[in-house]
């Protein structure tokens, strides 16, 4: 048997380089350094040699053995560390991403966008009218002459400014309806208006805030009927509250519409079965009606030719009524606590 140590060394080193993973490393170890491995066989095979040769060969084989042991242990720790690194890499990927600093849009903005989007699909054009307006537009032009008891329903703020002989006092408008006659006076018929504006009333409690938003729909054209009002409301209600929401019109009385209605939808909390938050499964959404002929006249429109409908509802109110967002105190919307704002 020819003992070619150099060849063996080269062969072992090459195989070790190729091993790479733990399973192959141990096979390599058994092959070269194991109890029945090549190196042991070498050692055993030199027993026949002369003492001189034996000594020399033994020295060489032992050197080879220790070199291979060292190589093995280096390779072993390298493979181990690679394995550990790849585990850390995998863990790293499970960490949450580094997000850009994103802020928050207010709930009212979000609600306005949704409402606007629904009406835009029906061809309504968004407008905005002054929050501080003349008594004329807020009441007088809406078929509510001075001292009319219906005015009491609106808890109106007055601004400390002189009265205009024609337009009256300066008020914080208590409703978006003050935009009706302003829109008509633009003299662009037909009208499909969506007026989303700030309003104010002298009220503050769980359900009322002194500044709030309303959205007012106004449609004026030839041949507009209650059936059209119903169609538009149904489209809004199904898109905003969900397809399963039912609604109904109840007779009501507003000075600026005739006929007038209250619009109810099925309660989002109990689904219409009836609970302590609703009236027999229904909740009031707001008022609506066919534009009163006197209001059309105030807007310079001939009620014999044109007719129209209008409705004005609270943005915050429809937002709060929609199932899913249950805010127990409407004032939170205007407190601007960042722990509140960050939730939306």
């Amino acid at each position: 048997m020819k003992l070619d140590i150099d060849k063996l060394r080269a062969e072992a080193e090459k195989e070790l380089r190729d091993a790479g993973v733990h399973e192959k490393l141990s096979a390599w170890y058994s092959k070269f350094l194991g109890k029945k491995g090549i190196v042991r066989n070498f050692l055993a095979s030199i027993s026949d040699l002369s003492p001189e040769e034996k000594k020399e060969m033994g020295k060489k084989i032992n050197l080879l053995k220790s070199d291979l042991e060292k190589l093995y242990s280096d390779a072993f720790s390298l493979v181990s560390s690679i394995k550990k690194d790849s585990q850390i890499t995998e863990f790293y990927k499970t960490l949450p991403g580094k997000r850009p600093e994103v802020g928050h849009l207010h709930l009212i903005t979000q609600a306005i966008r949704e409402i606007d989007a629904v009406f835009a699909r029906l061809g309504f054009v968004r407008v905005r009218y002054p929050e501080v307006d003349w008594d004329y537009f807020a009441f007088e032009a809406l078929n509510m002459p001075k001292a009319h008891p219906a005015r009491d329903e609106w808890e109106t703020f007055f601004v400390d400014l002189p009265e205009d002989p024609k337009m009256g006092k300066v008020v914080v408008t208590p409703h978006t309806s003050s935009g009706q006659v302003r829109e008509m006076l633009k003299a662009e018929l037909p009208i499909r208006m969506l007026n989303i504006s700030r309003c104010g009333r002298r009220q503050i409690d769980l359900n009322h805030v002194p500044t709030f938003y309303q959205f007012e729909g106004l449609v004026i054209d030839r041949g507009i009927s209650i059936s059209h009002l119903k169609g538009v409301l149904e489209y809004l209600i199904h898109n905003f509250f969900g397809k399963d929401t039912k609604f109904r019109l109840r007779p009501y009385d507003f000075r600026f519409t005739e006929p007038s209605f209250e619009v109810d939808v099925t309660c989002g909390l109990c689904g219409g079965k009836g609970c302590r938050f609703c009236k027999g499964g229904w909740v009031e959404l707001g008022g609506a009606g066919m534009v009163h002929p006197n209001v059309l006249k105030a807007g310079g429109i001939d009620p014999e030719v044109y007719s129209g409908f209008a409705f004005g509802w609270g943005v915050e109110r429809v937002l709060m009524m929609r199932s899913g967002i249950k805010i127990d105190d409407i004032r939170l919307l205007f407190e601007n606590n960042m722990k509140f704002l960050e939730q939306f």
Partner: protein, 620 residues
């Protein structure tokens, strides 16, 4: 106003196969909203201000005659009227009415030999159901008739009225009367009152009687008093006195002028039955106002147009009849109890269509001509700006328009009737509230930004205040140039291509703010952005560090650098350390590949110009 009407009481008037729940449903859908049913009997009904006629058992029963059949139930009127008979007797009342407009109709009658005692149990029970405390047989009759017939009444002790004389007039400011509830009331001017022969006030008309002429256990003669008053006067008086009685709430909505004498007859009959008394005077009935018959032409076509569908003539006529209208020669004669409410054909349309049932109308989307107006640019720009700020870490805030004075901004307008000092002024700036928000949210985060986009109110001589929409931003823990950068990037993103001046204000404690007129931004937004053709040549970017003395603003330096050579494509501020300003300059030659020899020539020109114009030198 809500009114309590027991179904068991309605059954005196209407015989029906409908249950109390059916009645509530039919009323809600066709007439008036039933808010709830108490003890399976009492309906709590919301009566709108135009329907004063419905504030009674009689009024609701009339409605049911129309709405129950519309919902498929039977309804039969079973109430018999009290026979009218001629009253007579020797007792007199000397009535003087100063201003006839105060009392369109005045009626009264005297009953003698009355025995004051408690009312029969069924009367007490019915009053109890509607929340009225039983007093005695006489007072109870007046209250009972008010609930049943909708007509408030009053009973005086006839013998306590000095000289049996009444002067109906408007009060003078400061006059005093003690009412039945033992409250001494000092009157404003213009309240309707009655003075007796001794010159004292004995009645706060339409609101509450005087204590001095009250019916007591000793009363022998009762003056029953049934009136109609000027509704506006009653409302004003009752509101200014802060005394909103059941009687006042009914009078101010208007009572039925034809219902006054029938109501009086019902009350007289009950008083005779309960007190053993007899009428001892003639019927006093003074009509100060004539109500001509009110007729409205029934425009069937118009009614169809309002509904959007064809409603048959027969249905129109029968539903109006069922509500008490008399149909004659194509006209509807308005029943007296709806006199103030029904005026035009649209009112008739409402009556007919509500009986027809709004639920029975189709739902249609309006078709027709295109609307002329298109969306104003400002709405699109506002939403874009909000999104930009959100995605750059800002929180959107909404604040009330009304603020306390210290948070209102400069020269704010005042609210005449504020809720409290916290809402006494209209804001003229959005900044104070935003700073307040940062202050209140101190613990939230070291670095934080808030914004609001909303109106402020600026006084304008002889006109409505200007109400521009402002954009205000406030930050804590944000560097000056960082906030300036947000604003610049926002304006850029909105397409404001021309210079827009804005100011960043250091509010101290690491807080910065910026407020801009957003209406102006909107009008400038959406500018056309320039396009330069792309080139295949590469540009070279080099830094240049200059020593500045602070006398020349960056803008001027930038202009010089840019103007030095057409091949200066872009100049950016890179860094500032003490007085050393580093700019990053991008060079590009559109005709050939630019080289470092080219750029060093341009740099020399830049340095030369900066030196000669502003004395700015290169840092070496």
């Amino acid at each position: 106003m809500n009114v309590l009407i027991p179904f068991s009481w309605i059954k005196d008037y209407v015989k029906t196969d409908a249950s109390v729940k059916d009645v509530a449903e039919a009323l809600s859908m066709h007439a008036l909203s039933v808010e709830r049913i108490i003890d399976d009997d009492v309906l709590e009904i919301e009566v709108t201000p135009n329907r004063g006629d419905a504030l009674s058992v009689l009024g609701i029963s009339r409605e049911l005659m129309a709405v129950l059949p519309a919902n498929g139930f039977t309804a039969e009127w079973i109430k018999e009227e009290v026979q009218s008979k001629k009253f007579s007797g020797k007792d007199k009342l000397d009535v003087r009415i100063d201003d006839p407009s105060l009392v369109p109709r005045f009626s009264a009658i005297v009953l003698d030999n009355v025995k004051i005692k408690s009312s029969p149990d069924w009367v007490k029970e019915r009053l109890d159901k509607v929340g009225i405390r039983s007093i005695n047989n006489v007072v109870d009759v007046t209250n009972y008739c008010m609930v049943e017939l909708g007509q408030p009444m009053h009973a005086f002790d006839y013998d306590k009225i000095t000289d049996h004389k009444m002067i109906v007039r408007s009060s003078e400011k400061g006059e005093v009367i003690t009412t039945l509830d033992s409250v001494k009331r000092t009157l404003p001017e213009g309240v309707i009152v009655i003075e007796d022969g001794s010159g004292r006030l004995i009645d706060l008309c339409g609101i509450m009687g005087g204590e001095n002429t009250e019916v007591t256990a000793e009363t022998k003669k009762v003056l029953l008093f049934v009136q109609m008053y000027d509704p506006v006067k009653i409302r004003k008086s009752s509101m200014s006195l802060g005394h909103r009685t059941q009687a006042a709430l009914r009078f101010e909505k208007g009572v039925d002028f034809e219902g006054i004498i029938p109501s009086l007859r019902v009350a007289v009959k009950m008083l005779e039955d309960f007190t053993g008394g007899d009428v001892s005077s003639e019927l006093i009935d003074i009509k100060n106002f004539h109500y001509p018959e009110k007729k409205i032409k029934i425009d069937y076509e118009r009614i169809n147009r309002v509904a959007g569908i064809e409603i048959g003539k027969d249905f129109v006529n029968s539903s109006l009849s069922s509500l008490g209208f008399i149909i004659k020669d194509g006209e509807a004669i308005v029943p007296s109890w709806r006199y103030g409410d029904i005026e035009i054909v649209e009112d008739l349309a409402e009556e007919v269509i509500r009986i027809y049932g709004y639920q029975n109308l189709p739902s249609l989307i309006p078709s027709g001509a295109l609307p002329h107006s298109t969306i104003e640019k400002k709405f699109l720009v506002e939403e874009k700006a909000k999104d930009f700020l959100k995605y750059n870490g800002f929180f959107e805030c909404y604040n009330y328009s009304m603020t306390p004075k210290n948070l209102a901004g400069p020269g704010p307008l005042k609210i005449k009737n504020p809720l409290s000092g916290d809402f006494a002024f209209l804001r003229s700036s959005l900044i104070p509230k935003l700073l307040d928000i940062l202050n209140k949210n101190k613990g939230y985060s070291d670095k934080v930004g808030v914004f609001e986009l909303g109106p402020v109110f600026l006084a304008k001589n002889g006109d409505l205040p200007d109400q521009p929409f402002m954009l205000a931003m406030a930050t804590r823990g944000v560097e000056y140039l960082e906030l300036k950068g947000y604003v610049e990037a926002l304006l850029d993103d909105l397409g404001v291509v021309t210079d827009f001046a804005f100011e960043i204000v250091d509010q101290g404690n690491g807080i910065l703010s910026c407020e801009m007129c957003f209406d102006e931004i909107s009008s400038m937004a959406g500018g056309i952005k320039g396009y330069s053709p792309l080139t295949t040549f590469n540009s070279i970017k080099e830094d240049i560090t200059l020593l500045v003395d602070g006398n020349v603003p960056f803008k001027k330096i930038e202009e010089v650098v840019k103007g030095a050579d057409a091949r200066v494509k872009r100049v950016c501020f890179k860094d500032m350390f003490k007085d050393a300003l580093t700019l990053s300059i991008e060079f590009l030659d559109r005709d050939k590949q630019i080289t470092s020899e080219d750029t060093s020539g341009i740099r020399e020109e830049i340095v030369k110009r900066l030196g000669s114009l502003y004395g700015i030198k290169l840092k070496v």
